[in-house]
Each structure stands twice: as C-alpha cells, then as structure tokens.
C-alpha cells in the first residue's frame, strides 16, 4: 500500500497510540474531579498543554484544546464576530479557504455580517495589498490560511501581519492546519497573529482533538457553554487521552522537523519534475519557497479526478481529489476555481499529499503507476 493522502488525515503514530491507551487507562479520572484520580488527570492535561506550548513557542495559557480544525476555525471566527459585533460587522477572508472557514463565513453572512473574499493570483497566493485595500472602519477580523490544503500555496502571513500592524483593533486569525510539522514555523508564526488553528489528526495524533492558539489578552465568545472547562472558554470534559497523544505527536513531529521537510521536498521535486515532462498534464503546485513541501496538485487532462483516484486505488495507492472535505460532494476545487482555472481542468485535479514516513521507493512506485495510468487514459484525449 502507498498512502499519499496525508493532508486528508494521517495514520496515528504507534507510540502516540500507546500514550493514548495508557492515558485512557491510568488517567481516566475527570480533570475537573476533586479527588486524586481527578488531580492526576488534571496534571496530565496541564503538562500536555505546557509541552505543546513550549514546542510551539506559545505560553501555556495561550493553548486551548478543541475537537480539531473545524471547531477551531468555527470558534475563532464566530467567537470573534460575536465578541466584537458592536465594533463592526465586516470580516475579510480569502476565496481559497477550507470549508470550515467558508461555511462559517456564510453562516455569519446570514446573521448580518459582511464578508470580503479576497481573490488569489494564478499561483494560488493572496496579496497583502488586497488585504489592506479591503480594510474598512468596521473590519473586525481577517482570517487567512497559512498553507492551502489543495495546492500547497504558502500565504504571505508576515506581509499581511505587517499591514495589520497599523490596525491593532482588527483580530488576525491564521488557519495553520496544513502548515504544522513541515518546518514552516518561521513562515507562519508572527507576533501580530492573534489566533491559530491546529488539528491533531494531520500530524499523527488521534482524530477528534486539536487546539487553538489564543494570544494573551485576546478574547473569544465561547461556543460551547457548560461546565466551564478550559478557563470557561470551551466547556466539555477534556479528552485527556487524545490531548496527551497530541502532546506526544507534536514532540515527535518537532524532532528533526527540518530533515523531514527536506525529505518531503525531495520526493515532491521528483514527482513535480516528472509531471512536468508528461503530455496533457497540468501541475499546480510549484517547487519553491512559497509552496509547502508536502502537497502536489495536478491533473491528467480529460480524466475526472475521481476516476484517477479510483484507478490508483485499484493498485492499492491512495491519493485524493483536491480536498477530502469536498470530494464526496463532487464539487470542483474551490482553490483552482479561485485561480481562474477552467472548470473542465479543475474537475480533473487530484492531490498527492506526503508525510515524513513516505519513501523514495514509494515515490518511484507511484511514478511508475502514474505513467501506466496516464498512458492508458491517453485514449480519451
């Protein structure tokens, strides 16, 4: 089996799973309970938070646990909108965001908020100037992703942050779900950013767990009301085993992060160079500084993405159409559409997404199969 769909989800790491199991059995107390078992669980929870904060360069109190990327994005966007609605109802985002951002924005529009969706250029990048031009007196939030999940374009976070320095009252949210663990920290961690979203299952932690960064002093309206866990911000009994697993997964992720990213980059280069030499193939993920090392989006012209996915699947190779979250709806890629790619091309797009465990041998095998599949489908052209 070759698994090249790591941007959709990753396999849980074995030792993370061991941590999850041990935590489930030895630290099963409710962290809010007063007795010893509760205290033990609380200690595990807070030590995990501290470890995550340290590894990410945040303060301990700035890490708040969630159920994952979708909750994080929903919470930060709605939580900010609800908290600041008296100051304005205008939000700026981009036309290539993940559905958990897009659909949240649509919900807010129904509640009377105004959202500006910034365009992207033909390489899938937004521009800081566009952000600046879109700012109004009533703008309360700017939300942009760090790494595009479909084609891997790295967005100019620092440049946007620089623009927003002149507008301290506007909250800045960065969806960093696809950016973590790829040695891209220096590209998306910026002191001007107020909120980040992260999701565990993108880096070999269990699914159903994630965390947000919430800069010291910033506020969010809670979406989950209840027992007051997570400093009254996010009620619900904490998922301590998954949190412990996530803390471990981040530690493993950070070990030799640069080497792992280089390895992915080499595999990506190999595939991209190969794709560029093929007829009737479009590659949307470029090699270079403003593209992440793990995502390669391409099309075999005239063949629907879904067909390509299934053809690979028959050979025990797993890739996806551009975004797992929209692939079942048969939608064309939102990002490619925003890049003004023709609809018939966009519906052909597939995404290969790597992780640090993928090998050169797997890539060679993939390329061999790609050639065969490509040759087979040339009858369609």
């Amino acid at each position: 089996m070759i698994y090249f769909d790591n941007s959709a989800t990753t396999k849980v790491n074995d030792s993370v799973l061991q941590t999850y199991n041990a935590a489930s059995q030895e630290y099963f107390g409710n962290p809010s309970s007063l007795h010893k078992l509760g205290l033990k669980a609380y200690e595990l929870l807070e030590t995990s938070r501290k470890q995550i904060a340290n590894l990410m360069g945040f303060k301990q109190d700035e890490v708040v646990f969630t159920s994952g990327g979708t909750e994080g994005n929903n919470w930060i966007i709605k939580g900010t909108a609800f908290k600041k609605r008296e100051f304005g109802k205008h939000i700026i985002t981009t036309s290539i965001e993940h559905p958990s951002v897009m659909n949240t924005m649509h919900q807010l529009e129904e509640l009377g908020f105004e959202v500006t969706y910034l365009p992207v250029d033909k390489t899938g990048h937004i521009s800081a100037q566009d952000v600046k031009d879109a700012i109004r007196d009533d703008t309360i939030l700017v939300s942009t992703m760090a790494v595009n999940n479909e084609i891997g374009a790295i967005q100019p976070i620092h440049e946007i942050a620089k623009v927003l320095k002149d507008y301290p009252s506007i909250s800045y949210h960065v969806d960093a779900v696809q950016a973590i663990g790829k040695n891209l920290q220096s590209k998306f961690i910026d002191p001007r950013v107020d909120f980040y979203t992260f999701s565990g299952h993108k880096f070999h932690a269990p699914r159903g767990i994630g965390f947000i960064y919430m800069k010291e002093g910033k506020q969010l309206e809670p979406l989950m009301a209840g027992g007051g866990q997570e400093s009254n911000l996010r009620s619900g009994t904490e998922n301590t085993p998954a949190i412990a697993g996530m803390a471990k997964a981040i530690r493993l992720l950070k070990e030799n992060e640069a080497g792992k990213a280089d390895k992915m980059e080499q595999l990506k280069e190999k595939l991209v160079n190969h794709l560029k030499g093929m007829d009737n193939v479009h590659v949307f993920s470029q090699i270079g500084e403003d593209f992440a090392p793990h995502i390669i989006c391409f099309t075999i012209d005239g063949v629907r993405g879904e067909t390509v996915v299934h053809t690979f699947e028959d050979r025990d190779i797993y890739i996806s159409t551009t975004s797992a979250c929209s692939s079942k709806k048969g939608l064309e890629s939102g990002t490619l559409k925003a890049m003004n790619i023709q609809e018939n091309v966009a519906t052909s797009a597939v995404r290969v997404s790597l992780d640090e465990s993928n090998t050169e041998k797997e890539m060679d095998e993939f390329i061999k199969n790609l050639d065969e599949i490509h040759d087979h489908f040339q009858i369609l052209n």
Binding site: K36, E43, L44, T47, A244, K248
Partner: protein, 405 residues
C-alpha cells in the same frame, strides 16, 4: 569561563555588634541547607564574607537558590587566578569578553587584603585598565556608574576577579530573631505573612489546623507543600498539624451561628499559643489583613485576640489583596494557594458570621463548652514533621507523565 567561587556579602550586619558571630553561623547554616543538593560546594564563613567554593559545580542553579536566602545583601561570581600578574591580566580580558557589549563602559576596583603584594591598588587598577583598553579600543572608562565593574581582590592564596554582582534577598538570616508560630491555612495570605516574618530573621514553625473528613489529605499536603516553598528562604521548617474536627463539630452543635467563626478562631489561637509556649516561641504570626473577611475586622480581631496576651504579628495587615497576591506570585506560593481544596476555615463557615462580635457575648457562649477537654484532646493529636528544602507533598505523577509524553 569557569568560575571558582561565589562571594557572599552579608546584610544589615553593621548594627549587630556582638551578635555578629551568631548571625554568620546562622546564615552559613541556612545557606548550607538550601544548597544541600550540591555536594561539591565548600563553604568558608569569614567575618565579613561567606565564600562558597564551587569545585566544578555549575554556578547558575546555585545562584538561583542563593538569591532567596535572607541575610544576603549581594553576592559575586568570582574566578581565582594565581598571583602572577600576567595571569590576572589575561583572565580580566577574558572576563570582559564575556561581559562586554558595544557601547558599555567599565572600571576596575581593587581591594588588597594582602599588603605584601608587589603592586598596590592603583597600579593594579591602572595596569588592568590598560590591558582591557588595549583589547577593546572603543571601550569607555567610567568611574562613577560603569556598566561593568571588574572587582579584584588580592588575597594570600590568590587573586579573585569578578564582574557579576547579584542582589540578594536582604533581610536577616532566618533564626537570628528568635522563634515564633505561624498560623498557616492553605490560602494566599498566610504563606506571604510567613515569608515576611522570615525576612526579619524569625524562625517560624507552621501551625496548621485540619479537620478530616471535612478537609482532605490534599488540603493537608497543600499546606505542607506551601511550607516547602518557604524553606527556600532559610532552610528547614517544622510543620505542626493540629486536629480540629472535634472542636468544630462541638462548636457547631452548641453555639449560635453568628458566633461560630469567632469562637473557632479563639480555639485556634489558644491552641497555637499553647504550642508556642511548649516550643519556646516568642510570638504568633498570621495572615490576617484588616477588613478582608468577617474574621478580620478590627472588632473580630479584638474578640479573637481576647484569649491571649502573646504578641500577635500580622505582616500583611495593611496590605491590599492585590499587593499580597503580587508577593505570593513572587515567592511562588500563589498557584499552590489557589488550588481548590476545602480548608478548616471554610467547612464550618457560617453563612453570615458576625463582623462585629461582642466580646462579652463571645465569652458567654463559649463558657458552655468543655474548653480544657477539647484543647487537651487536640493537643494530644498533634503531629510534628520537619520539612526540608525540596520536599514534595502534592501528589505528582510528573515522572510517569513525562515518560508518556
């Protein structure tokens, strides 16, 4: 640079006259207890300074601990060089490389306790200054407020150089001002009161009331852990646990609700005073602040204080809560204090205690109780433990957790 010793300067000694020796002995003992985890250290207490020879120990953690010990004015990290002046020059330049950042000024200050050394103070200052100026042509010499002061001390066994002088905790060595009891709850105020008592050299012993099963083992451990935090400032502290449940139950069942709190406190004070007497203490400290809660109004204090003539000192009496919290954070007891365990003051707290209890009425309500019997049984149940620096009492799975993560 590898440093060889830390030179400790005493605080407030000039006023101590004949007590100098006991002051120095006590400080030496307190420092030794706080630094007990560094077996390579060798201490030499002298009349005007305490020398701590590092013998290869990393100075940084030692200095961190030293910063907390009361009775220390300042301390300097020094390196011992041979009496060969070329060596001294070389080391001084090396030291400047460590300390100097562009734009800084410096001076050299020399003390000669060995007057047989061939160079006098001025010559040493000048020659070292020259050597440094040769190496750092941009550097400014500044006599009044230099950024870096290289201190040179000429002794018979060698020459000591230092540039890093750290401010100590000040105050008096714990133990030089006599012994007193501190009424320690698990709250924010009493550890701060203890810290302030220690700062004036008072050797405190903790008196902690606990009421199982109304209060938990964790609450008791929390009080012990708070005590352990305070050992950082002067070494071991005795912790005295006094069982209090029977007294509380008895008071609850036979005294009007409004006076529950006042009478409980009077019992606590009686017990603390008895313990003080037995253990040869001279005073009682507590964490009361005027007006903070019902038991801390002046009327309440008067009604509670009615049971003894022993001096009761309240170091935080006039501080605002925020000031107390700031100090608690500084001495690292705050996060521990706010952990939510019931303590004996809260379990039997009446919904509306009298803020202005009447002393006559208090005495009258109390007179129906078997005061002597209750006190005796509580005294019989007392347990005393010595808490040393670094002792841990709160349940901690940190090791196991670290291996999991």
């Amino acid at each position: 640079m590898e440093y060889t010793e830390i030179m400790v300067r005493y605080g407030e000694l000039s006023t101590k006259g004949k007590n100098r020796k006991s002051f120095i002995d006590r400080l030496h003992g307190n420092v030794a207890k706080v630094l007990k985890d560094f077996p390579e250290l060798r201490m030499q207490p002298h009349r005007d300074r305490l020398h701590i020879k590092l013998n290869g120990t990393d100075a940084k953690p030692v200095m961190e601990k030293l910063k907390n010990v009361f009775g220390i004015q300042t301390f300097s990290l020094s390196v011992k060089v041979s009496r060969d002046f070329e060596d001294v020059k070389k080391k001084a330049v090396e030291m400047m490389h460590e300390a100097y950042k562009p734009g800084m000024s410096f001076k050299v200050g020399t003390k000669r306790s060995d007057h047989s050394y061939p160079l006098d103070t001025n010559q040493i200052n000048l020659q070292l200054g020259d050597a440094i100026c040769d190496e750092f042509p941009e550097i400014d010499v500044e006599m009044k407020k230099p950024d870096i002061k290289i201190s040179v001390e000429v002794r018979q066994d060698g020459i000591y150089l230092s540039y890093l002088t750290v401010k100590g905790a000040g105050g008096l060595p714990v133990g030089t001002a006599g012994k007193a009891m501190l009424m320690l709850s698990g709250g924010i105020d009493s550890p701060v009161a203890g810290y302030l008592a220690m700062k004036r050299g008072v050797d405190i012993e903790m008196v902690h009331f606990f009421s199982p099963p109304y209060t938990s083992e964790q609450a008791l451990n929390k009080a012990k852990e708070l005590t352990s935090k305070l050992t950082a400032f002067g070494g071991n502290i005795n912790f005295i646990e006094v069982p209090f449940a029977e007294i509380q139950e008895t008071i609850k069942s036979s005294v009007p609700e409004g006076y529950l709190m006042t009478i409980q406190r009077r019992f606590m004070l009686r017990l603390t005073d008895l313990i003080r007497e037995k253990r040869h203490g001279l005073a009682i400290f507590n964490g009361e602040a005027v007006g903070q809660v019902a038991s801390q109004t002046l009327e309440s204090m008067a009604a509670i204080n009615d049971v003894t003539t022993t001096p009761i000192l309240r170091p935080v009496a006039t501080m605002d809560k925020t000031e107390i919290i700031r100090l608690a954070e500084k001495i690292d007891t705050f996060n521990l204090s706010i952990q939510p365990f019931e303590d004996c003051c809260t379990v039997f707290a009446p919904p509306s205690p009298k803020t202005r209890p009447n002393i006559e009425k208090t005495r009258k309500f109390e007179s129906s109780l078997d005061i002597d019997g209750l006190i005796q049984r509580a005294m019989d149940g007392i347990k005393i433990t010595t808490i040393e620096h670094g002792d841990k009492f709160m349940e901690s799975d940190q090791e196991n957790i670290s291996s999991l993560l």
